[in-house]
């Protein structure tokens, strides 16, 4: 009877949803092609005008075109996940580095979360870029897959670099990734709110922190905000509390880790931290802070420039507190490394290695650290940043002792990271006690 009519209704329904899907997918392809289009446009502009502080004086742009015989003339590719403004600065650095060895380079900026998926796709179709940027905890996993060539083979070392970044880029005793700049986590606090609450110095111990957070909490304002979401971001924000208290990712079912988790659970129970923390990523926590809804926030060095740009917003930063004053704050090391991919083309790989080294040259370290709100990887340069930009000083201290997430477990880090955020979620939502949550997560099979 009514079968035909239903069929028409269903068909039109399907058509509508297909059409919508079509629209949205074409929109997304359009968006992803924009960065490369932008990159190729800027490629046509003369690199000379662009090469300011970053380019070595010995390398005029004309070398690339006129003398390919001198071992140069290669067309290289580089891929990263930077967005518009940072991407533009990096494009200049890439071009200058390529020009200095007589080659040309084109860059692709793949939006954050899609990078690894794209790299895997490129690996299977043998179309990997010559130079690949990776978030440092991914380096060992990708190196294990065989997609990267050891930088050690090209005589590149990380001498003078901060220890955390060296261990992040090292797999099976060989250096695979070199990061020009690194970052880490610290505590930002709203100085106006501190004054209003009569707090004179930032908290250094958990007890102080807890008391201050309670004092700062009032209707509409929480004492503290952080990322507690059930993703690797939640794990990242939990690491300083866990590591500073002696916790270890090999076995999270320890009293040290339980104490750290208990501390955060208590902040939620006291009402000093919103229950919504379990749904917040880092950006959510930061926007609570900038909106004046949180007096303190766990944030990264990259947040500095955005805070500095805000008028009438007074803040300062210190390392995150530790349980006792004698403990050293240990935060996770963040930052992106540049790597040479295993393309099989020896000339291009050698050239790519030179570019990786060039991106981490002292001048570029300075430039990129300023652009990204990061700390130069080189220990001596980092000390200079602490003096020239006092806002970053506390982060220079933190970075020097920062620990790489993959230092201990290597490619198995993601498994541990999953366990950590699983336990964090169970405890912060009040589903389980911290000890029980950690024990369950540690023993869970995935």
């Amino acid at each position: 009877m009514s079968a035909r009519r239903i069929a028409i209704a269903v068909a039109s329904a399907t058509a509508v949803s297909l059409a919508l899907a079509g629209c949205s997918s074409s929109k997304s392809t359009g968006a992803s092609s924009t960065p490369s289009a932008a990159a190729s446009t800027s490629a046509s502009s003369a690199p000379t005008s662009v090469a300011t502080s970053a380019v070595p004086a010995s390398a005029p742009a004309s070398v690339a075109a006129s003398s390919p015989a001198s071992g140069g003339g290669l067309a290289l590719t580089v891929e990263d996940y930077y967005t518009w403004s940072t991407g533009q600065v990096l494009d200049k650095v890439y071009k200058a580095c390529a020009a200095s060895i007589g080659d040309t380079i084109t860059s692709t900026h793949t939006p954050g979360a899609g990078l690894i998926a794209k790299v895997l796709q490129q690996a299977s179709s043998k179309t990997l870029p010559d130079v690949l940027m990776l978030d440092n905890p991914d380096v060992q996993e990708i190196a294990q897959s065989g997609a990267l060539a050891p930088l050690t083979d090209y005589g590149i070392t990380a001498d003078g670099f901060t220890p955390g970044v060296v261990s992040a880029g090292t797999y099976s005793g060989k250096l695979y990734g070199l990061a020009p700049a690194v970052n880490s986590l610290g505590l930002y606090y709203n100085t106006d709110m501190f004054k209003a609450a009569g707090i004179t110095s930032p908290p250094a111990t958990w007890a102080d922190f807890k008391a201050d957070a309670a004092k700062l909490t009032k209707p509409g304002v929480y004492g503290f905000a952080m990322a507690g979401i059930g993703t690797y971001e939640g794990t990242w924000d939990f690491m300083p509390w866990m590591w500073s208290n002696g916790g270890d990712e090999k076995d999270i079912s320890t009293p040290q880790t339980a104490q750290a988790l208990q501390f955060l659970v208590d902040l939620v129970k006291d009402g000093s931290m919103s229950k919504s923390v379990v749904t917040w990523g880092q950006d959510d926590a930061i926007s609570q802070f900038t909106a004046g809804k949180a007096a303190m926030v766990e944030g990264g060095s990259w947040n500095v420039s955005a805070f500095q740009a805000m008028k009438n917003f007074h803040w300062a930063s210190v390392p995150l507190p530790t349980q006792t004053a004698s403990q050293t704050p240990v935060a996770p090391l963040g930052g992106e490394t540049y790597n040479v991919t295993e393309t099989g083309n020896k000339d291009k790989m050698a050239a790519a290695a030179k570019i990786v080294a060039c991106i981490s040259s002292p001048a570029n370290q300075q430039l990129l650290a300023t652009t990204e709100g990061a700390i130069p990887s080189s220990v001596s340069l980092a000390a200079g940043v602490a003096q020239s930009n006092p806002a970053l000083a506390s982060f220079v201290t933190v970075v020097s002792k920062a620990r790489s997430r993959t230092a201990e477990l290597g490619p198995d880090w993601p498994t541990a990271a999953t366990k950590i955020y699983t336990a964090e979620q169970s405890a912060l939502t009040g589903k389980l006690s911290p000890t029980a949550a950690l024990a369950q997560a540690q023993s869970q099979s995935q």
Partner: protein
């Protein structure tokens, strides 16, 4: 596939057969090959875009398909190991229960509200058509955009929903924050999203109920609830089965709403089979186990698809 389903081919080839009885055989052959030609695009399409991915997915679920595979091209055969890992995982039971609750809750809500609205719009009143087309709006919005808005509205501290509840002196509900409430919140949003589909199809079904039945019924005293119970409902039954079965299949595979609202959290309270398959494949890059989960999901959906085909066939036969 039967020839009865190919009216176009039949009517096209019929004149040939009638005009040339001596070449009966070759005509039949031509007819057959033309039939296949008409079928070919559909067969090629189904094989390429449905058959191939499913076969690949099944194969992948029996392999240790990891990040390494992409570079080396080697995916060692592991037999049922991926399925064992998935089923033995401490999360699997939670995921199954969540999937069941999410599907049943969404379908019941969507159907009841959808049917009520469809019945309402059958009356004649001004702006009926306009309102009915406005009802399709949730369907026209990109899901990821509407879930982002819902996420704001459901926010515990500053969401408008809790703000409104505050006026009624109801304390803030931890919509997306508490593991006990999050699934309900996600089901609510999915109901909102599914209403247009239910209204559209149930409304078209209602148009097919002959008005004479109601006239005859009212003479016999069947009005109001009785008219619904003894006239509308029995006439609507075939449409109802279609709506419910399709609804189940659509709801089982929902991913965007969950990713957009909760990402499967808090504390895995909204993790469904679809969300787990996504997480395993595209967050943890364990494609083998991810494929295993999605195959389990496909089997569950297939069961309902077969139910749908059966009921549909019966409706046509009737």
């Amino acid at each position: 596939m039967t020839t009865a389903e190919l009216p176009t081919a039949d009517s096209n080839t019929a004149p040939f057969g009638r005009g040339a009885p001596t070449r009966h055989r070759s005509a039949r052959l031509a007819e057959k090959s033309i039939q296949w030609l008409f079928l070919a695009p559909a067969i090629v399409y189904v094989a390429m875009f449905f058959g191939y991915p499913i076969v690949q997915n099944v194969r992948m679920s029996f392999e240790n398909y990891s990040t390494r595979t992409f570079f080396t091209g080697q995916a060692p055969w592991v037999g049922w190991a991926n399925y064992v890992t998935v089923i033995k995982s401490s999360l699997f039971k939670t995921t199954l229960i969540n999937t069941g609750l999410f599907t049943v809750g969404s379908i019941v809500g969507q159907f009841i509200i959808g049917l009520a609205l469809a019945l309402f719009f059958r009356r004649k009143f001004p702006l009926n058509n306009l309102l009915r087309s406005l009802l399709l709006l949730p369907w026209l919005l990109p899901i990821i955009a509407s879930t982002a808005v819902w996420k704001w509205m459901l926010d515990q501290d500053s969401g408008i929903l809790n703000h409104l509840l505050g006026f009624l002196h109801i304390s803030a509900v931890p919509w997306l924050v508490s593991p006990n409430v999050a699934l309900i919140a996600v089901v609510m949003v999915n109901i909102w999203l599914g209403i247009p589909f239910n209204v559209a199809i149930l409304y078209s079904g209602l148009q097919d109920v002959p008005t004479e039945l109601y006239e005859a019924g009212s003479l016999g005293g069947a009005t109001g609830w009785k008219a619904f119970r003894f006239i509308t409902w029995p006439s609507l039954r075939p449409v109802v089965t279609v709506v419910l079965v399709l609804g189940v299949v659509y709801t089982l595979k929902v991913l965007d709403i969950i990713i957009g609202l909760t990402g499967g959290g808090p504390a895995n309270a909204t993790e469904t089979l679809a969300a787990e398959a996504y997480r395993r494949s595209f967050v943890e890059f364990s494609f083998g186990t991810g494929a295993a989960v999605s195959n389990i999901l496909i089997v569950v959906s297939l069961v309902f698809a077969f139910v749908y085909l059966r009921l549909n066939r019966r409706a046509i036969d009737e």
